[in-house]
Amino acid sequence: MTDSIVNIKHADVLFVIGSNTTEAHPVISLEMKKAVRKYRAKLILLDPREIELADFAFMHLRQRPGTDVAVLNAIAHVIIRDSLANLSFIEERTEGFEKFAESVKEWTPERAEAISGVPAQQIVDSAYLYAHASNAMIFWAMGITQHTTGTENVMACSNLALLAGQIGRPSTGLNPLRGQNNVQGACDMGGLPNVYPGYQPVADEIARAKFASGWGVEYDELSPKPGLTVTEITQGILEGRVKAVFVMGENPMLSDPNLSHVKDAFDNLDFLVCQDIFLNETGEHADVILPAAGFAEKAGTYTNTERRVQLIRPALDPPGEARADWAIILDLANRLGANWHYDGAADIFKEMATLTPSYAGMSHERLEHGGLQWPCPTPEHLGTPVLHIGKFTRGLGLFKVLDYRPPAELPDEEYPFLLSTGRILYHWHGGTMTRRSPGLDTIAPEAEAEIHPADAARLGISTGDLVRVFSRRGSVVAAARITRRSSPGMVFMTFHYAEAAVNLLTIDAVDPIAKIPEYKVCAVNIELLTQLTDKEFSHESESTRAVA
């Protein structure tokens, strides 16, 4: 987020795009609801599904999945056409406006309506609301990033903020909601193939020299060549270029798209090590399992979605011989010829802070008194609640010319339904944690497929019936849930259930820049299962059988 959670309540307009906030980020949704109910903010919701937030929305734009660029380009078109743009902001702080203005000339609301299904008048109204607001915040989550046009979708949001000057002040800005406790931190720490900690490029000579000296290795020992992303690692294994994988606290064999393909890849590995708190689907294919301490059994820090670095503290001893991940990595490094010494997490943080400018002013000692938002460059600095005040990181904000591209795989005669995947309130990600917590799993014990009543009536499906959902890549069985939340022609499922792993169905088409898979759109078909055959029994889990 460029802004802070605490500023949500002071915004006039909240523009929420592709975020089911009440289920995926419930506590942030409380701030949104407070802004709407108590402080009279207007919420514009752009989402294909009638999610709970729709009850709080002033306007709900229900686009066809994967048509976000068309809708956002048309909103930009109206802002420019009707002279709603913030010209002094554009003049002072941006570049590329003329080219961009030219490119959206053809993006009339009517054209966007034809592509997205969003009525032209709603597009016009939301342009006026957003541009006229004193302070407007844009929020998004995986609903716009998990597309083959994910990067363009985000750029389209950024274009709007620049156009209306809705960034660089409190209660404005571009606010992605991160789905995992420390996905922000994992990126900040260089858990990416192209950057060192603090987003310093591995290909940059100065950064490379700095890390070589900071880590006590020769300049030549650090590779300037960006590495492989998760999806490229799978491909690399299949092509025989990648021979060994070390997995710490992840489960690619449940969370990656087109799982059969991933399984073939991991079976091909010479050597697989998994370090985790449970034996998960990926671990089942490993050669070595290393037991790790959980969040309540170790010290360290997480960085939240608003860039706030906060401590975790040990409350329990790890079970059996499990050890903190950092201690295991330390021992392994020293066995591989390194000569590392760290007293504990605080000591590691100290070294990291000397090499990561945005964290340079932080230490565990300071964080004892409360979280700090990066950038925090010096020990006296109080942290940065709002980014881009006065100046953007790159200098001027750049308008991007964007064209609409349809999703990689759309419904056709053979696979007439559009499948979108996401989360529900009671479970989290691959379900490793929540499915082992009876208080949650009792409420949502089995995989469901959301189907619109019109489709259900045509296929003779009622709520609770078992249906097979199948794509070109695989097939799963789930209980039907007949609801108007999804549009006709659309099926929604979650990725929380290993026994009905929805990623057997999803497509591994990725955004060419961010390499994010298109989890929000692929083509499937559904059929009612009257009775499971023996063959199907062998594929299904205990819980599905119990229902059958």
């Binding site: 996905v183 060994a244 606290g249 329990l316 591989l336 989890y519």
Partner: protein
């Protein structure tokens, strides 16, 4: 009413909001979780996962012992238990052999959006400074 042996302030491990919580511990069990008010994130609020989703910590199938198997068809069980010493020796020896034969880019590391900053920092440092590869990624995109 149960009185805790200790109450530990920490950060919720679920989504990216980063709610501040108190773990109430009795006899080495987390028996209650409450939201903290003294912060700018959750003001005492918590969602259903942050309040009731902590049984996994005490689940009977937590991994407690390093395990190594020579044949992937053999299931992991008590017979595959080993010591830290031998498990880490094996990992180091295999990584060294694979790097020597196929080069550093034949090894890849998945860091974790669930683990701490310190652990992510250390694993990417291991990949880059010790193995010599930038094949480092995690499931940020998923």
């Amino acid at each position: 009413m149960i009185n805790p042996d200790r109450t530990i302030q920490t950060t919720c491990p679920y989504c990216g909001v980063g709610c501040q919580i108190d773990l109430h511990v009795k006899d080495n069990l987390i028996y209650r979780v409450s939201g903290r008010f003294d912060n700018q994130v959750n003001h005492g609020n918590l969602c259903v996962k942050g309040r009731f989703g902590f049984d996994f910590t005490h689940a009977p199938d937590r991994l407690t012992q390093p395990m190594v198997r020579k044949d992937r068809r053999q299931p992991f069980d008590k017979s595959t238990y080993t010591t830290w010493e031998s498990a880490l020796d094996l990992v180091a020896q295999r990584f060294r052999a694979i790097r020597d034969e196929h080069g550093p880019n034949s090894i890849a590391f998945l860091t974790s959006a669930k683990c701490t900053n310190e652990e992510n920092y250390l694993l990417q440092k291991l990949a880059r400074a010790v193995i010599g590869t930038n094949n480092v990624d995690h499931c940020a995109r998923l």
